[in-house]
């Protein structure tokens, strides 16, 4: 028993060390983001990369989710003769939960991992050190640009996913209930409130920030060797997905509290 003690305390010790290190990293972001140089060009390039990388998969997933979710919900509603509620049901589910969550998870897999791998490989091949010694702030150039880009782009992608999912849903509804496009979207917009949209955007901003900062953090802290790069990519996906679920749960609590107030 006695020789186990240091192992446990070392693990706990490392956990808290990691936590304080991560905290310092996030804090550094909020301190440095306000000061020039702002690297607009690099931010734009990153935004483009993020959109370009995740668009095909997001389009496909969003569309299929719209179709499948509509199709699977129909029997339950049909029991009450309430299939005319389908557009309302789907739009609430998509805007409040599915759109942001699905987009964020896909982006965590595609964008988060590639940020982790890219920065990780720059770290182990000393490219980050090379910036540092030529008086360029790598945190600004790499971390802040990527994190801002994911923070801005995820909400945009979420809106796009919502739209594509609703389109998928419309096709299914149109085939089965013969509802026209305009009727469908009138119902959609009647059923979603300002709070729904607002909270969805805020949530997406948080998801985007999470994906960016986690990818950068894991990359920045990756150990020497090419093995470290793979680990960084993997760890950033796992970590950001985990945080996204936690954030989703917290957001649910907060939005419900506001709605009931």
């Amino acid at each position: 028993m006695e020789d186990k003690k240091p192992v446990i305390s070392k693990k706990i010790d490392n956990f808290f060390r990691g936590l304080s290190d991560a905290y310092a990293f996030v804090k550094r972001f909020f301190v440095e983001v306000w000061f020039p140089p702002y690297e607009f060009k690099e931010i734009l390039r990153q935004c483009y990369e993020i959109g370009y990388r995740s668009l095909p998969l997001i389009s496909l997933t969003g569309f299929i989710i719209g179709i499948v979710f509509t199709n699977q919900s129909r029997p339950s509603l049909a029991e009450f003769g309430a299939t005319s509620w389908l557009p309302a049901l789907i739009s609430i589910a998509v805007v409040r939960a599915l759109g942001p969550l699905v987009t964020a998870l896909i982006a965590a897999g595609k964008v988060g991992s590639s940020i982790g791998a890219e920065i990780g490989s720059m770290k182990v091949t000393e490219q980050i050190d090379a910036m540092e010694v030529s008086a360029i702030n790598p945190f600004k150039y790499l971390v802040i640009t990527r994190t801002l880009a994911t923070t801005f782009m995820i909400p945009v992608l979420v809106m796009y996913t919502d739209f594509v999912a609703l389109l998928g849903s419309f096709i299914n509804v149109n085939q089965n209930e013969m509802v026209s496009l305009s009727t469908f979207f009138v119902q959609v917009f009647e059923s979603i409130s300002f709070l729904d949209i607002f909270s969805s955007v805020i949530k997406s901003l948080v998801f985007g920030f999470t994906i960016g900062i986690v990818g950068c953090y894991k990359g920045y802290r990756s150990n020497q060797g090419t093995e470290g790069v793979g680990k960084a990519a993997n760890a950033s996906v796992v970590m950001s997905m985990f945080l996204i679920f936690i954030e989703e749960l917290l957001a649910l609590q907060v939005v419900n509290a506001i709605r009931n107030a």
Binding site: E118, T125, Q127, D129, A130, V133, A135
Partner: protein
Amino acid sequence: MRESVIEIRGLYKSFGDNDVLQGVDLDLYKGENLVVLGKSGSGKSVLIKILVRLLTQDEGSVKILGKDTANLTLRELNKLRLKIGFAFQAAALYDSMTVRENLEFPLTRNIKGLTRKEINYKVEHLLDSVGLPNTINQMPAELSGGQKKRIGVARTLILNPEIMLYDEPTAGLDPTTCIDINNLINQVREEYKTSSIVITHDLTCAKQTGDRMAVLIEGQFQATGSFEEVFEEATDPRVKSFYDYNFIKQ
């Protein structure tokens, strides 16, 4: 007395239980090429990383161009870093950028208001002087190890450094390419009037480029002096074994 551009006194650095540097004293004099020798893992890279504060020492002081690096603000440190060219062991070229962009990056970020023509002239001139004018639009992944190292040297030269730090410039290269790199190091000194530290465990490189040798063994410099003094008159068996390996037991 000769003027020191770098003054290292009583430098200690450990990583956990691994005591890497244990009381290093060293001077780099103006205009000289100082070769630092030592076997793999002896802390050569750690030493020059401490000079540019990529790592911080546990104890001891480093003065560069008269400034104690421990007391500098980030702004002052960056100003000093611009006077130091650091050629990384594995070149550390930015792999998302072309050779041209690699060279431009430190230049355009540190010197504002250059015209396109001035930038192009500098980049092309430097690529010419490292003998690789045709690589300008290539990506680092398309270059050989020796080419990467030369581009790496060109990139550090673009800001006209007063001090050059070369981390194993010839490691992993064939003998002819090594000679090219050695010539480049000497040519840089002539052209840019730099003082340099050349890290290596290759005695041919040491002999060709160095005015003075310093051998790092077990965290301290055990011998310094000219090549002949250090090696041909060596008494310390650890220094001697270095020489024997390179020149006798091939």
